[in-house]
Symmetry: C2
Subunit: 317 residues, 2 copies
């Protein structure tokens, strides 16, 4: 959105995330301009790893990069678990900044990376195509993997608790890279820790904080992902919405329009959105959403049109 | 493999694919050194698009690139469908070169790209992350899409017929990018043409040429992909082998070890291979294979060890 680029100016991405006034304004602008029913805290998955000892930067055209990706046990041992208030305290101010200006009827959704996706990033050091380094580490160094995942679960759950205490009304756990794993690898290397994370979040925040668990390219993993204990799943566009909802018997579901559809003509966008809404057929508990993040160069006008279309459809029910 | 690098020297990739003596030798070397039960014709998916009018090059660190990706209807109209003997006649010589030196008991598998994956490459122009251009084209220009896919089906089926007439004993159709589509998009934009391709191959080559259809990240699509009419599917590591085999009732199945596992220690590789073999439990029709192509920097020794391990296991049954 042009409003975001104007706000960001020459501020570096990492500084932007860590400056509560800017992150709060970006959150509020997006919610107000697009007219969506909930606001998503403007943040990134990775800055929570900084206070652990990971050196993070966001590079032009490359994206986030760690200068010191994890190749050894020793480096895992050196990672610190610091209280979230201390390590990422700025998120509290971002959230209170958002809440002071967010309309009462609009909920604020917090978010955090899932243990596997954060571990992958810490090991790969940057975006990856084949995830060779993380799988090699996982297969070859079970002790190091356990230590890393244990530390991540503690760090993430504390980060979520801080968001909860600061006032978010739901939290979404992003496992963006989980689709690279087979089911047996998920069961062995991920499930115990994600289950532990869900348990910690529920015990630290109580049952009034809905926890949404999201993955991409993970049709083959949705059953075991739901088993880890989130309140419900958010699906990407590859996983069929209604059969999955029915099979898992979840109280709610989020998804799942392919974000690339927003590059199409308005009539195509409406047709594709209607296809989802027709399947859901007014069933309570469906949160209409894209199946992944908004892509760069998406037209904000198309997003607004989509939001209006979904609202009109809801009113017609 | 060092043998391949020695053979390739400074030959450009595209020239290598189009030089029958080199491509045949690469095929034979790989089969002999690794000790696999079948040889795969050394070739790439994309050169078949060259005689249609697409300008192809292979760039260092980037991979295949089309100088003239398709953005318009007019360009689709300009694409030629030329007889395979004329456009890609070198493949006949590659195959006869392979067959003259391949041990009798070893089958030769040909291969070709599937219509969607070739259309995507022609439109994106190079490797893609989000497939924005191809989906935009597909959603926004149904007429152009139909013409493009029609031409591809004709080109691919003629290419397969040439391979068949030259002596391949099976053919594998690669839909490497298909996993980016939702089920409804596959049904609308891909299924009719893939079905048509399978029908043409079967009618041109008879039922004695087994056709294997392969995709990646496509757990959500395997049912409809099998419905298009291949003899059976090859699965990537994300799609569970036995449940899929049982559900679809296929006569055979190929797959599905994650190629990244070859970067692990021998004990891990054996354990993971055994996990697949134990599931299959000697059932006839399983072709042990990786779930995708070999990755760069994979140790040939690990591949040889895996081949030996699978052979030893077979003999112990």
């Amino acid at each position: 959105m042009p409003e975001y680029h104007a706000l960001k100016g020459s501020t570096k991405s990492l500084d932007f995330f860590k400056t509560p006034e800017l992150a709060a304004k970006a959150t509020l602008d997006a919610q107000r301009i697009l007219g969506v029913d909930a606001a998503i805290m403007f943040a990134d998955l990775l800055p929570v790893l900084e206070p652990m000892g990971m050196k993070l930067d966001y590079l032009e055209k490359i994206g986030p990069v760690f200068e010191n990706p994890i190749p050894t046990n020793k480096q895992v041992d050196a990672l610190s678990v610091v209280p979230a208030e201390e390590g990422v305290g700025y998120i509290r101010d971002t959230i209170s900044g958002i809440l002071s200006d967010l309309p009462r009827e609009v909920d604020l959704i917090g978010f955090a990376g899932a243990p596997f996706t954060l571990a992958s990033y810490a090991i790969e050091g940057r975006g990856s195509r084949n995830y060779v380094h993380v799988k090699k580490f996982m297969y070859g160094n079970p002790t190091g993997w356990k230590r890393l995942m244990d530390k991540l679960v503690e760090t993430i759950s504390n980060y979520v608790r801080l968001q909860y205490k600061s006032g978010v009304q739901a939290v979404q756990i992003f496992d963006s890279w989980i689709g690279c794993l087979s089911l047996t690898d998920y069961e062995q290397y991920v499930e115990p820790w994600t289950t532990n994370l869900m348990r910690r979040i529920h015990s630290q925040c109580g049952s009034d904080l809905p926890v949404i668990y999201f993955g991409t390219g993970n049709s083959h993993l949705v059953d075991v992902m739901y088993k880890t204990g989130p309140d419900f799943l958010a699906l990407d566009w590859r996983t069929p919405l209604m059969p999955t909802w029915d099979r898992l018997g979840m109280p709610a579901i989020q998804g799942n329009l392919d974000p690339v559809i927003l590059f199409a003509e308005p009539e195509v966008i409406k047709k594709k959105a209607k296809h989802i809404l027709d399947q859901v057929n007014g069933r309570s508990g469906h949160i209409f959403n894209l199946g992944h993040g908004i892509l760069p160069n998406t037209s904000p006008d198309n997003v607004k049109m989509l939001v209006d279309f979904v609202h009109d459809h809801d009113q017609s029910l």
